[in-house]
């Protein structure tokens, strides 16, 4: 393959499903690069010596190296290069906020668009899944057992690294299916579930045991895992799954969902399929309150269920929205109506207790607050009502209290997050490590995965130090 530098200021377009067509189905929106497109895009990389992109990646993926391998047509090698520091490339290539991480640091981004690092990562992973036969070297067990609580990206990454070191790893998952937010939260059209399943099957093939339907704190406590079930260490990757509500009047009316409930019904329970056993409301006019990835996913899912009007209601301006740029862009293409600088005051019900509208006020931006973002202030007299039949609250989540309430000696902060060392995941309780959303509060897949990997290393050191 010829190594011709591509000096185009724009990324090679990625084929996507037509917006009108896709807003009526749950199939994946972006279709991925072909080999030719990937090589062309990879040739936009300048292979900078100081590698600014790598410093922008929370797990320091060896970006220029893998991109160069793509330019040479060495796709499997590129995939393996990514795997050296990232356990879930097919997932991260699709859901990482690249524009604020690796791609934000890309030199090509100064005078045009950055290199499409995320698209290339996804390409390498998809290519390998499709073309390379997966063989796993099973490492002989070293006789030590480690328990992992939660099967989201943090738990999966931790399990993957530990099994490679010879540990006998068991993941305990509360739900009937492993994957965490990757299966119950992020929709099929953004992250196909069979892809997540393949990652999990890979871990099982390497010897990781997965025990679903096990709610730790209820069926077994952490103390019991350590003292009675024979585990030498425990990693807590239980996420931040507790939905918050606004505490405004009308939130318990029929037709008001948390985004977690709405998305769980759709993704985990497949309520979007005609013959699904789990029901869901298919609203005509739906408002999603919030501006993050979760809000975009809920809004775009509501559209796909057949809603005519779907609104994003966000109290700051679009510039402050925490969602990935691509999701905002896709949502707009699909006809989602953005009502920014708008804040709900109350939800209005009909005589039978069903949602019929939401009263909102308009906002303006004042001085920056603690988060550094400009504080939204209510404009007096701007009350107005939007007619709706469904409201989805997507204003954030916090860690579930189940683990902390049954593990009194595990220190948590005032938000209910487990206190853990950022480099090792060490907690206040001996033998217990933690990482991911359970520690940071709702964050990202890559940070959770990175935390799981760091904890795996620390757990290995801890167990070896106990033996010595």
């Amino acid at each position: 393959m010829q190594n011709k530098r591509n000096m185009s200021p724009k990324k090679v377009d990625i084929p996507v499903q037509d917006p009108i067509v896709r807003s009526g189905n749950f199939e994946e929106v972006a279709l991925g690069y072909t080999e030719e497109m990937a090589i062309e895009e990879a040739n936009r990389c300048l292979n900078c010596k100081h590698k600014p992109c790598v410093s922008g990646c929370p797990v320091n993926v060896k970006i220029p190296e893998f991109v160069m391998l793509i330019t040479e047509g060495k796709f499997e090698e590129a995939y393996e290069k990514i795997l050296e520091t990232n356990s879930l490339p097919a997932v991260c290539g699709r859901v990482c906020p690249q524009e604020s991480q690796c791609e934000a640091k890309c030199v090509r981004g100064i005078k045009g668009e950055s290199v499409g690092i995320g698209r290339l990562e996804r390409f390498a992973a998809d290519w390998s899944m499709k073309n390379a036969e997966k063989k796993y070297d099973t490492v002989p067990f070293n006789g030590k057992k480690v328990a992992i609580i939660g099967s989201g990206p943090a738990g999966l990454a931790c399990a993957g690294d530990l099994v490679k070191l010879g540990y006998d790893v068991t993941i305990f998952e509360a739900f009937h299916l492993a994957g965490g937010v990757l299966v119950y939260g992020i929709p099929e059209f953004r992250l196909p579930k069979d892809l997540v399943q393949k990652e999990i099957d890979g871990l099982v093939a390497q010897g990781v045991k997965i025990r679903t339907n096990m709610v730790i704190g209820k069926v077994l406590t952490i103390d019991e895992l350590l003292e009675e079930e024979g585990f030498s260490a425990v990693f807590v990757g239980s996420g931040a799954g507790l939905p918050m509500f606004m505490n405004i009047p009308g939130e318990n009316l029929n037709g008001v969902y948390s985004a977690n409930e709405f998305l769980t019904r759709i993704n985990l329970m497949k309520a979007y399929k005609e013959d699904a056993k789990t029901p869901i409301m298919r609203g005509e006019a739906v408002a999603v309150v919030g501006g993050g990835n979760v809000a975009m996913d809920a809004a775009r899912s509501a559209k796909r269920l057949g809603a005519k009007d779907v609104y994003i209601i966000y109290r700051r301006s679009e510039a402050e929205m925490p969602a990935r740029l691509e999701e905002v862009h896709h949502a707009k293409e699909e006809g989602i109506i953005f009502k920014v600088l708008t804040n709900p005051v109350q939800i209005i019900g009909d005589d039978n207790g069903w949602v019929k509208g939401m009263e909102c006020v308009s906002m303006e931006l004042g001085e920056p607050d603690q988060s550094g973002r400009r504080r939204p202030i209510k404009i007096e007299g701007s009350e107005h009502v939007i007619d709706l039949d469904t409201v989805i609250m997507s204003i954030g989540t916090s860690p579930n209290p189940l683990i902390r309430s049954t593990t009194p000696d595990l220190a948590t902060n005032k938000w209910g997050c487990i206190e853990a060392d950022a480099e090792t995941g060490t907690t206040s309780k001996e033998g217990v490590f933690a990482g991911g959303d359970a520690v940071t509060g709702a964050a990202t897949v890559i940070l959770a995965m990175g935390a799981g990997k760091k904890a795996a290393k620390a757990i290995d050191e801890y167990i070896k130090s106990k033996e010595a």
Binding site: M214, V215, L242, E261, K277
Partner: protein
């Protein structure tokens, strides 16, 4: 997989299943519940733990066939397995220190109230049990309840067993006669629990109710099960399902329970069609 080791048909609509689930059995307490899925495409449906055997490692549930999923569950037999069975969920009933209790069950609720009556009886408390049914043909667990109670009252809406009236009428009569209780436990349809609370409120008797809103995960991650108690929103699956009945907004609970009524009806139709197809194909 979670194997069914015993199946009993208690009346035309109510069945009992004893299921192998050793980890759940080890921790189960009265007042807690489980969530199960019948098969790989099933919905997650909650059931109260009606009994448990720690040694055998089994958990018993008693259920009424009211819709597509419970009908499908009712078709399973001894030796079959459930796809999923998770628990114990929710907090156990607080029965510490109770000396004199009334346990009141409406319909299927009588069966669900059995573990509480049994535990109180084992604790040495004096227990009056009041069970109410629509008619005498559907009375269940009478013998079991008699064994764990000091006095057992069984009423029917139509008087077909000789005692006509609602459970709340009996409770009212007992209170009027001067009977005193530390606690009244009411389990059954929301409307029945509401009426019992209205009876006990003027007497200031602590009244525990067991709420059954629509649930999915049962671990506090969806908020679908939210109920208003004392003006505050609670998640019934983790904060309950037991609550102080005098604080519960029953009207909201009943309204929220009807959220999927239309869809449920379609599901039953579809289920019946499929059964008929199966029968016709044979």
């Amino acid at each position: 997989m979670y194997k069914i080791v015993r199946k009993e048909i208690l009346n035309s609509q109510v069945k009992l299943l004893e299921i192998e689930a050793p980890y759940v059995a080890r921790k189960a307490e009265p007042g807690q519940f489980i969530i199960l899925r019948v098969d790989e495409s099933g919905e997650r449906i909650p059931f109260t733990i009606a009994d448990y055997d720690r040694e055998k490692g089994t958990v018993t549930i008693i259920f009424q066939e009211v819709g597509a999923s419970t009908l499908a569950l009712g078709l399973l037999n001894e030796g079959d397995s459930l796809a999923d069975f998770v628990g114990p969920l929710g907090v156990a009933s607080e029965l510490e220190g109770v000396k004199k209790a009334a346990v009141i069950g409406g319909g299927l609720g009588s069966a669900i109230a059995y573990p509480q009556a049994k535990k109180l009886n084992q604790m040495g408390a004096s227990v009056d049990v009041i069970m109410g049914y629509r008619n005498k043909d559907i009375i269940i667990l009478e013998k079991e309840m008699a064994e764990v109670s000091d006095r057992l009252f069984v009423t029917t809406d139509d008087g077909s067993n000789g005692t006509k009236g609602f459970v709340s009428d009996i409770l009212q009569k007992l209170l009027d006669e001067g009977t005193e209780y530390d606690v009244v436990i009411a389990i059954g349809p929301a409307i029945m629990m509401k009426v019992v609370c209205d009876v006990t409120r003027p007497h200031g008797i602590r009244t525990i109710v067991s709420l059954n809103p629509i649930m999915i995960d049962g671990t506090g991650m969806c908020g679908g099960c939210r109920v208003t108690v004392g003006g505050e929103t609670k998640f019934a699956c983790v904060d309950g399902p037991d609550f102080d009945g005098h604080q519960v907004d029953f009207d909201e609970l009943m309204r929220r329970l009807s959220m999927y009524k239309d869809k449920e009806r379609t599901a039953v139709e579809r289920h019946k069609c499929r059964l008929e197809d199966q029968v016709n194909a044979k």
